[in-house]
Symmetry: C2
Subunit: 333 residues, 2 copies
């Protein structure tokens, strides 16, 4: 691989001049520029990113920490980030945190030692305090999908209270009065918020909230299955179940069919997130839209502004969820 020295020599100029044409510096005469470009071409020269980074203290790359590299949710997030970055000619370094505090911290350390100019953190395991500490260290970053009170303008998130609220309201508007709720792990703030919005809608409708209408599981299909079984066994009056995410809803939908319940005729179902797979479900899942792709894109815009001064068209930190009415909620009286 040719280096800048060889290019300089072949073109008969100095290193500095070659560096200038690499970086599009205007203070180079057209003639010189052509000479250098010819030399670069004939040597098939490609600047070493590593050396550039060391010298300039900029890597032109953004680090993304997410929980897992597969899965529909994080896939969309990545897609949103990647698209914006690509247009800005910046690069993406991804590292998974696997829902684990230590791995998330290691991931952040890795991205930093890797010289990322800024970070996008979809961190779920580390606590707020850790992020607040990080923010004091002069590391540009933005958090996705989580609202750290001390860090406004650093968090891009979904209004989960509203999400829980609109889901419940939608079901109530369809005449349901006995509404089950399958929740994910309770520790997560977004779980708490969704349920909080749920309760708010019940209250507004004058429906008393009952703790026994709620099942707490993991965020997986299995949780949906277990939750459905438990709720229907103990509270058979339930006519609708709202799930804290789509995987739970998919699990519930599957077991409902197996147990002989007709969805939505006998039992209505609502998901959350609008994962891509919901369109392959039957009946098509009514769910709450979680615009994670747009949120990822927005987080990227914000970071691009902070780090490179690239001005975004608009900036928005709180996204509003809405119900996507499809086929799993029926009207009853």
């Amino acid at each position: 691989m040719a280096t800048i020295y060889e290019v300089a020599e072949l073109a008969g100029v100095s290193l500095a001049t070659v560096s200038r044409v690499i970086n599009g510096n205007q203070n180079v005469s057209a003639k010189t520029r052509d000479k250098v470009k010819d030399a670069m071409n004939s040597l098939q020269y490609r600047p070493s990113n590593v050396a550039q980074s060391l010298a300039s203290n900029r890597t032109q790359s953004i680090g993304l920490l997410l929980s897992e590299v597969d899965g529909p949710f994080f896939g969309e997030l990545m897609g949103g980030v990647e698209e914006v970055l690509r247009k800005a000619n910046k690069h993406l370094v991804i590292t998974p945190g696997h829902f684990d505090v230590k791995q998330e911290q290691d991931g952040i350390d890795f991205l930093l030692s890797r010289g990322c100019d800024g970070l996008i953190l979809a961190a779920e395991a580390v606590d707020d305090e850790y992020l607040v500490e990080l923010s004091k260290k002069n590391v540009p970053f933005v958090v996705v999908g989580r609202d750290v009170a001390e860090l406004p303008e650093r968090c891009v998130c979904l209004d989960n209270i509203e999400g829980g609220y609109v889901a419940a309201k939608f079901v109530i508007a369809h005449g349901h009065k006995h509404i089950g709720y399958i929740s994910g792990t309770y520790e997560k703030m977004h779980t708490v918020h969704r349920l909080q919005g749920h309760k708010k809608a019940l209250k507004e409708a004058g429906i008393p909230f009952e703790e026994s209408h709620v099942y707490y599981g993991d965020f997986k299909e299995t949780g949906g299955i277990a939750g459905f079984q438990a709720l229907m066994a103990e509270r058979p009056e339930i006519t609708a179940i709202i799930c804290a995410n789509d995987e739970l809803a998919a699990g519930a939908n599957g077991i409902a069919r197996e147990m002989g319940y007709k969805v939505p005729e006998q039992i209505s179902l609502v998901g959350y997130d609008n994962n891509v797979f919901t369109r392959y479900m039957h009946p098509k899942l009514t769910t709450v839209n979680h615009p994670i792709r747009e949120m990822g894109a927005m987080a990227t815009h914000k970071l691009l502004k902070d780090v490179y001064g690239i001005e975004p068209k608009e900036l928005k930190y709180l996204f509003q969820p809405e119900v996507l009415a499809r086929e799993t909620v029926s009207k009853i009286d």
Copy 2:
């Protein structure tokens, strides 16, 4: 961010010694090592990956080129690669090629200029020749999901002829004689191979192959819809349709239901790839397993061996597909 100089000074040793302890070199006395480690801790020192890379000409990272960063198929591939890399303490740099020749080439250039020690290429758009040229350039790489004849031991792929064969054989064994086939874009080798295997199975069973039983679409849900409509309109005797991938099958399944066909009672369906979403489908899709996660992992092992001399347990270049019998194929007579 502290540098190695500061650590050296605080510990009262030279740069070289600090470097040795960073790299776990054995020729450092325990006492010195401790001094250095203490200094590193108290300064919160973290070596600069960039500087290390420049000096050592190794970045400890592997580049992965794939078509898209979201989507179940590539998600699983990434997952497989990432897991193996993480265990080997190497890092992953991902770049998407978006099914486009230019973007794939740029992606490879990027990964190279980025100093990746080796590449994993799930390249679909660039031609074989390009890869053969690349192989002459002393760049360690392995190709996933594609068999370049000139590059044995560099390609990890699925036996797609066998895949097409077992799918057709499975359907034939269930008594079907009029079998439709929804194919993806014909230019891709794996498409050709799958259809080739399909024909082989027909031939063995004494069923004449008819060109009008095949529909060529894209690889998306839309192709499945269009294909299903076209095939059923023109060849209503068809009782089973084999699709070149799961998305096509999902499309076919959806439109079948809409058109009032019962799957599998009236029409049987087979997919290909075993994407994760197939488990959310109803009825659950009978499909051909494509162990892309394992293939990604295997490609990574091979590269780890070539680049860093890490010996893998086993190496395997050709994976065998098999039919996962679920709920979309019925027995007829």
